[in-house]
């Protein structure tokens, strides 16, 4: 079997009635890669993972995981993949350690080995002092970490992570990312979904951007950034919130994309920079609002994302609170 390409997807489609949750996507993931699926709510990230892990049947298209066809050979493929679902769904009444042992048992890991691995994972995920706590009693971050540990008991070659840091505070998310990076360093191929641009940029070797069930662009973070290269990016900060500024700028600056970062900060991408400056100053005089700062900055991954998808990265992260 061809294991260089750990995941090969061609024309994969999932329809729920009229709705195309995933619409003929194609991509490949190489061995050892940390591959990110980036997209807003409802883009089809979870649906894709469910199809690749045998929990949902594709409507059409083909996919091979570890060289195995996901329709015909799902059971065989499952032996070598680990899955961390969107919701941490281990058993509430079992202790951290027992949850790991149970997962080991499900995957047929021999008893002694099972114990050893559980201990090792608890150490690696810094859950040793909580190993006898019921899953229900763990913090969100610990639950997430244990769910990842549970997906690793059978030493999978490929790990699927569905929004691993969703709902975690900054510190917990950071330590979880470090753990994921650690697994990647050990040679595990990782497929993760996220709607945090920053997370994708920090962690991933390659990113596919998914919008409304379609892969709109695939590339390394550097390649994606290049999509916005040569574009001017201007950051403006006003002295007070100006909710109307975005619409005003959009109408006066053809060819530019304007994003409200928060109440009084805006980002203007593309278009004619000289004209953008003029419009900004004119606006400040008309509305009598002070300009605190105007800067021309290098395009970031956010800008590239905006350019590629036409979706405001701010709007996307605002949706995350679920």
């Amino acid at each position: 079997m061809n294991v260089d390409r750990v995941i090969q997807v061609e024309g994969l489609t999932k329809a729920y009635g009229e709705l195309l949750a995933v619409a003929a996507i194609s991509f490949e993931v190489q061995e050892g890669e940390l591959f990110g699926f980036l997209g807003p709510n409802g883009a089809g990230k979870t649906t894709t993972i469910r199809m690749l892990t045998g929990l949902a049947r594709p409507t059409s298209g083909t996919a091979r995981v570890l060289g195995l066809d996901i329709r015909a050979q799902a059971a065989q493929a499952k032996r070598h993949i680990g899955v961390v679902p969107e919701q941490s769904n281990l058993y509430d009444e079992l202790s951290a350690r027992d949850n790991l042992l149970f997962m080991g048992k499900l995957f047929g890991v021999p008893r002694g080995e099972r114990r050893r691995r559980a201990e090792g994972l608890l150490r690696m995920f810094r859950l040793e002092d909580r190993k006898n706590s019921h899953f229900a009693a763990l913090s969100r971050g610990m639950k997430r970490a244990l769910t990842i540990a549970a997906a690793m008991v059978h030493h999978p070659k490929l790990l699927f992570l569905d929004e691993p840091t969703l709902g975690l505070d900054v510190a917990a998310a950071r330590s979880l990312r470090a753990l994921i990076a650690g697994l990647h360093d050990q040679g595990v191929t990782v497929f993760l979904t996220t709607h945090y641009l920053e997370e994708a940029g920090l962690l991933c070797d390659r990113i596919a951007i998914l919008v409304s069930g379609k892969v709109v662009r695939t590339g390394t973070p550097a390649e994606l950034k290049r999509a916005a290269e040569g574009e001017s990016v201007i950051e403006v900060r006003f002295g007070k919130p100006v909710p109307e500024a975005r619409d005003v700028f959009t109408s006066r600056l053809p060819g530019a994309q304007v994003v409200a970062m928060n109440g009084h900060e805006l980002r203007i991408l593309g278009g004619d920079p000289a004209q953008a400056y003029r419009v900004v100053f004119a606006f400040s005089e008309e509305k009598e609002v002070a300009i605190e700062a105007v800067n021309t900055v290098k395009p970031s991954l956010e800008d590239a994302f905006l350019k590629i998808t036409d979706l405001s990265p701010v709007a996307m992260t605002q949706e995350k609170g679920k």
Binding site: K78, V83, P85, Q87
Partner: protein, 225 residues
């Protein structure tokens, strides 16, 4: 995993309910009570297995832990069978306790081989009936409600309280398609003979189990399409 069986719905429907009924019958007519023992054992088997299924299936469906089982190299049929066997085992423990208790208390004599020969297929049939109905709904309380229809229908029509032969003809015909009828009949045979009836009833009960398992597996599989 045994913790599941002690969840409140399993306890109330699977344990408290049959015991209450048994006591009620006993208090009403202590003298005829021995007559009712096979029916009550069968009823206990029915309630305990189906209540257990509602918990293991619907709790796990809701929590997503059933899905977790499917991430392992296990197919839907194996997971479904596992649930059926788990429910049957829980039922066996409950039913054995009730059977042993009433046999010892009343000093009845029973053919243990026939008893088990009927009881085990009966537990499997009820457990798979429970599993089939439970995969049709989402919540545990919905499952308990849905389960009550066949439960009460069978209690009144399958000879637990009134002998089937004393019922009107139309109801007798209906009783023939209810698995509890065969469980009661088979258990009576285990207590008082004839043994041949136990063989027939055991086979019919196995048939019921199969008839419930197949569509149950299909329905469960359909949830993961």
């Amino acid at each position: 995993m045994r913790t599941y069986y002690l969840k409140p719905p399993a306890v109330s429907w699977g344990i408290v309910f049959p015991i209450t009924w048994i006591l009620a019958f006993y208090l009403r007519s202590p003298r005829d009570f021995a007559e009712l023992v096979p029916g009550l054992i069968a009823m206990t088997a029915l309630f305990s297995t189906t209540a257990a299924e509602a918990v293991v299936i619907n709790f796990e469906l809701r929590l997503g832990s059933l899905e977790r089982l499917l991430l392992a190299p296990i197919g839907v049929p194996a997971v479904f069978l596992g649930k059926v066997l788990g429910g049957a085992l829980f039922g066996l423990i409950m039913t054995a306790a009730v059977a042993l208790g009433s046999i010892l208390a009343l000093g009845l004599s029973v053919n243990v081989v026939y008893l088990l020969m009927v009881l085990i297929p009966a537990l499997l049939a009820f457990s798979s009936l429970g599993a089939l109905l439970c995969v049709m709904v989402r919540e545990v309380f919905e499952a308990q409600t849905l389960l009550n229809l066949p439960r009460f229908l069978m209690i009144f029509l399958s000879g637990v309280v009134y002998p089937v032969s004393a019922m009107p003809r139309a109801l007798q015909a209906l009783a023939k398609v209810l698995p509890l009828t065969y469980a009661v009949d088979g258990l009576r045979a285990a207590f008082w003979g004839p043994g041949a009836a136990a063989y027939v009833d055991a086979l019919v009960l196995l048939g019921f189990a199969l008839a419930f398992v197949v569509p149950g597996m299909r329905l469960l599989a359909r949830r993961f399409e």
